[in-house]
């Protein structure tokens, strides 16, 4: 069942057009990742889905209704959004940050109801932040801070979760920790997740569906096996990739890659790259 879809989206900033004509559908209960090289418009697309950025033309539909016709608070009850590296005011505690996630369900002075408190406790528990509840967000480590923001987003209790690069600036272990948390939310709570991710192998490992973008155009959409092929990666990233199957997860991984056009860096030719940093 489709929960979020776009129809002939045209997106840009002032004169500059970033996405010309984009239509796709997000299935309910799935994890969808948007991948693509820098500047391909993935973040812009996510912002448009999240109604942060307005499309020049075309539509975003949430549950079949045009999103710009739904009151913004009502959208916030259906869809939570986590932008890239958000910034909390100094001195804000983890508990208070998470409590802000309840605001779409509150009125006026935002007093926390028993139900609100229950949900906040649950969010603290799921993200493993119970011990840190009274700590200031700005004193946490990168991984903890990201978990706190995710806790705020899930405290919104929405079917749909949009995340823009939730693993940026985190080390490998913390990246995995965040993605496993999201996967768990997806499996246990049936949350639909749409995210932009830079790491292809993570995207392949954790998503049901992948959307590959380049220069504002949708290049390929499908399961990880369909999208993570040498040919698609060549078209999307201009790389020559060796894609194998991860023996642990049975998902495709990009084992090694090289640039197609220029091969200046001779030393690194055919070098095994664990964490593909996409140029």
């Amino acid at each position: 069942m489709s929960i979020l879809s776009t129809e002939h989206l045209k997106i840009g900033y002032e004169e500059k057009i970033i996405v010309e004509d984009l239509s796709f559908t997000i299935q309910s209960g799935e994890i969808t990742t948007i991948i693509g090289p820098n500047g391909c418009g993935k973040s812009t697309i996510l912002k448009t889905l999240a109604r942060i950025h307005k499309a020049k033309s075309g539509f975003v539909y949430l549950d079949g209704k045009a999103i710009h016709k739904i009151p913004t608070k009502q959208i916030a009850q259906k869809m939570a959004v986590l932008p890239q590296s958000p910034d909390a005011p100094a001195g804000l505690t983890v508990f208070d940050l998470i409590s802000y996630g309840r605001s779409p369900h509150q009125k006026g002075f935002a007093r926390l109801s028993d139900r609100d408190k229950e949900v906040i406790e649950w969010a603290l528990k799921v993200t493993g932040l119970e011990e840190l509840r009274d700590q200031d967000v700005d004193t946490l480590s990168g991984g903890q801070r990201q978990r706190a923001w995710i806790a705020m987003a899930i405290a919104q209790e929405t079917e749909l979760l949009l995340l823009d690069e939730p693993t940026t600036y985190l080390d490998m272990a913390h990246q995995l920790e965040i993605l496993k948390l999201l996967k768990k939310l997806n499996e246990d709570e049936n949350r639909t997740i749409v995210m932009v991710i830079h790491d292809l192998n993570h995207a392949a490992r954790f998503s049901d569906r992948m959307i590959a973008m380049n220069k504002g155009r949708l290049m390929k959409e499908g399961t990880a096996e369909e999208v993570m092929t040498a040919e698609v990666l060549k078209n999307v990233f201009q790389i020559d990739a060796v894609v194998v199957t991860d023996p642990r997860t049975n998902k495709p991984v990009c084992l090694s890659y090289d640039l197609i056009e220029q091969e200046k860096d001779m030393n690194n030719k055919n070098g095994i790259v664990q964490e593909p940093v996409l140029v």
Partner: protein
């Protein structure tokens, strides 16, 4: 580390302490001034048994001035708190970013051009004056918004543009001052640096209802301020109508600054320092920051006014200068920390 319940309790404590300090200062300040009145005589006068002279000095001159100081201090603190939350900028203050200068320009323009003199406030002007001041504040805010805001809210840019706008309006005021007679020139000069003038019960009554209305509205919007201080994108995700809500609270801050300028001239730094101290004590939630910063602002301004009136008596130092002397070092400290 404090839990939510502790924080509410702490807030009540802090407010109680501040109210006590403010009352204490209020009483001390009543005793002081050009005419010294003993504490006992003050008490007698307040309960209605004073001499005619004490009544006149206390009830007609000193008390309305102090009440105005308390109102202006609270108003500037509210204004600064809101500006800082909305711009995500620790350095925002209606004085520093030029809103007060815009209001000041409008007031001087009004008094000089329309009334032809900087003295003698007629009854009708008591109503028109805050209105003009407000319009000037809105003009300055619109300029700042156009020049600094649209290209992303960079704290340093906001301050730099503010300083530019400040000096622009200051220059415009100077041009008008050059046309004034010496007496008006002096009056304008003192007022620009911050001076509680025209202190009368009438003026208190003109401003008080607006002040109360705006402050209550800001308190009502404290949760929105919390959400806005998370940044536009997060706030939108939480279902806040960011453009609309930001405009509402900004309007509140600008209107408060305008009112304060009409009563107290160009007082800078107070709207910066008071919210800062409040956040240091109470954390960033505006339910707590707003009332606590208002009390701190009132206390500081009343303190500054009392010092300014007495330290070099019979010469009076304008309150804005005393505030600046007290708080400028704090501003420089913040500026250095930001860099």
């Amino acid at each position: 580390m404090t839990t939510k319940k502790d924080l509410a309790k702490k807030c009540i404590w802090i407010i109680s302490i501040l109210v006590f300090l403010l009352l204490l200062l209020f009483f001390v300040s009543l005793n002081m001034g050009l005419v010294k009145i003993a504490p006992n005589a003050v008490l007698q006068t307040l309960i209605g048994n004073g001499t005619e002279r004490d009544k006149l000095v206390l009830l007609e001159f000193r008390l309305p001035r102090m009440v105005l100081a308390v109102m202006i201090g609270a108003g500037l603190a509210f204004s600064g708190s809101i500006l800082q939350a909305v711009s995500k900028n620790e350095l925002a203050d209606p004085g520093i970013i030029g809103i007060n200068a815009g209001a000041g320009f409008a007031v001087v323009l009004f008094l000089f051009i329309i009334q032809g003199s900087m003295s003698a406030l007629a009854a009708i002007n008591l109503w028109l004056l805050p209105l003009f001041s407000f319009l000037g504040a809105v003009l300055a805010a619109a300029l700042i918004y156009m020049l600094a805001w649209k290209k992303g809210i960079n704290p340093i840019r906001l301050v730099l543009v503010g300083i530019g706008i400040n000096s622009g309006f200051a220059a415009a005021i100077t041009i008008m001052q050059l046309k004034m007679n010496p007496q008006d020139f002096m009056k304008a000069a003192v007022w620009i640096s911050g001076d509680i003038w025209g202190a009368s019960w009438n003026f208190v009554l003109v401003i008080l209802p607006w002040m109360l209305l705006l402050c209550i509205y800001a308190l009502y919007k404290s949760h929105t301020l919390n959400q806005l201080s998370l940044g536009d994108q997060v706030a939108i995700g939480l279902g806040v109508h960011v453009e609309r809500e930001r405009l509402k609270v900004l309007f509140t801050a600008v209107a408060l600054a305008g009112l304060c300028v009409s009563a107290g001239g160009g007082i800078s730094f107070l709207g910066l320092v008071a919210p800062h101290i409040a956040r240091k004590i109470m954390g960033p939630k505006h339910q707590y920051v707003l009332p606590v910063s208002a009390l701190i602002g009132s206390f500081l301004l009343l303190l500054a006014d009392t010092i300014g009136q007495n330290i070099l008596a019979p010469t009076q130092i304008s309150v804005g200068i005393v505030v600046a002397i007290i708080s400028a070092p704090y501003f420089i400290y913040l500026l250095m920390k930001t860099n």
